[in-house]
């Protein structure tokens, strides 16, 4: 009656636990909402266990979890859009999801960092996702391209656009206004 195959390798729980804070962070950047973010993390973990045979033991579990989370998020988003298809869509333009992550002002959080998080929240989700993965998670562009299943040129152009916007709205350097040539 028990039909569990013998080859079923469980995900290493210590590694999952270690990845939790980063998964939560990625989820917040994607959803822009603390509670939805934790729901997304939970769904991601459930999905990861379900699909654990797709993970190759010994490879970077965090990167694989990020991929799973990205896919769960995108699928939900597509479903939500499909449901709301009568509502006019802002077709991947600005916003979409409102950024509702309050940053608790503490003695540690400097005002400009709070402001920066706010500005990142104003970026389209595709851009802030790449910004997080490239800058904060310090993943290579090629890894991000594989993870998000997009061409590397798209990774770079999203990153450039994100940087350009942040440069305009946050921390302007006097005299810097010229735009560099964008490849691809």
């Amino acid at each position: 009656m028990n039909v569990s195959p013998a080859t079923d390798v469980p995900l290493p729980q210590p590694d999952l636990l270690a990845a939790l804070p980063r998964l939560r962070r990625y989820a917040r950047v994607l959803t822009g909402d603390i509670h939805r973010a934790d729901d997304l993390v939970q769904e991601t973990l459930a999905r990861a266990w379900e699909k654990r045979r797709l993970w190759t033991a010994g490879t970077d579990l965090r990167a694989w979890l990020f991929t799973v989370m990205h896919n769960v998020f995108v699928n939900e988003r597509v479903a939500a859009r499909h449901e709301a298809r009568n509502v006019s869509l802002d077709d991947d333009g600005e916003g979409g999801e409102a950024w509702q992550i309050p940053v608790r002002p503490s003695q540690y959080a400097r005002v400009e960092l709070i402001e920066l998080i706010h500005h990142v929240g104003q970026l389209p989700v595709e851009q802030r996702e790449v910004l997080l993965l490239a800058v904060v998670e310090e993943l290579r562009y090629e890894e991000i391209a594989v993870m998000l299943a997009i061409p590397i040129g798209t990774v770079m152009s999203r990153l450039s656009r994100a940087r350009e916007k942040l440069r305009v709205v946050f921390g302007q350097v006097p005299g810097a206004g010229a735009s560099l040539r964008v490849v691809r």
């Binding site: 009656m1 960092l113 450039s160 440069r167 921390g171 302007q172």
Partner: protein, 194 residues
């Protein structure tokens, strides 16, 4: 700036530390010659450091218990924590539906007209309470004789009946019996978790 144009990709890779070493001198030279480019690189580098600071502050927050729990291998729902009574009630209720499926709607209407205060789930629960809790004889015919059980029930009910295979849900057939429905004979199948 003059010979090899510095692209956005160069700037990105430079500030993210992924630029090919061979390309580094070109970017550095261009930045030295072009204050606008230099400022741009400086801004991006400053933003990088600030982004890491800002978003790293989230990593130290306590993680909710439900997420910690979700890192454990999911337990296949075996309903172990539910009492056997509840399990069997659920299982027999489900099976009663199948057993009496035919003619069900007509019977419901008749019952309602007659004012009989019963619903199918209630009937199933009552039937269950009567038989399934009898540990020694919950069923008339045990699962070992499933073929005989099914033949008998089919004959008494007037249409082919079979015991649903609930093994995939973790329920093993114990056996079954014929019980009195409100208007017609009803089949009761009892299942248990291993």
């Amino acid at each position: 700036m003059n010979a090899l144009p510095i692209t956005d990709a160069d700037v990105n890779a430079f500030v993210d530390g992924t630029l090919a070493p061979a390309r580094m001198p070109a970017v550095e030279a261009a930045a030295a010659a072009d204050p606008v480019l230099a400022a741009r690189i400086a801004t991006a580098q400053r933003h990088n450091a600030q982004l890491r600071d800002a978003f790293d502050s989230w990593l130290t927050e306590p993680v909710p218990k439900r997420l910690i729990a979700a890192t454990a291998a999911p337990v296949v729902p075996r309903a172990r924590r539910i009492t056997p009574w509840m399990q069997m009630a659920a299982a027999s209720a489900a099976v009663l539906v199948l057993g009496v499926g035919i003619g069900w709607f007509g019977r419901e209407l008749t019952l309602q007209r007659a004012g009989t205060p019963t619903t199918f789930t209630r009937e199933a629960a009552l039937t269950h309470a009567l038989y399934a809790t009898d540990i020694n004889r919950p069923v008339e015919i045990w699962a070992a004789e499933e073929a005989r059980l099914v033949r008998w029930l089919s004959r008494r009910m007037g249409f082919p009946v079979r015991a649903p295979d609930l093994n995939s849900a973790g329920y093993a057939l114990v056996g079954g019996r014929l019980v009195a429905g409100n208007e017609m004979p009803t089949a009761l199948f009892v299942y248990e978790t291993p």
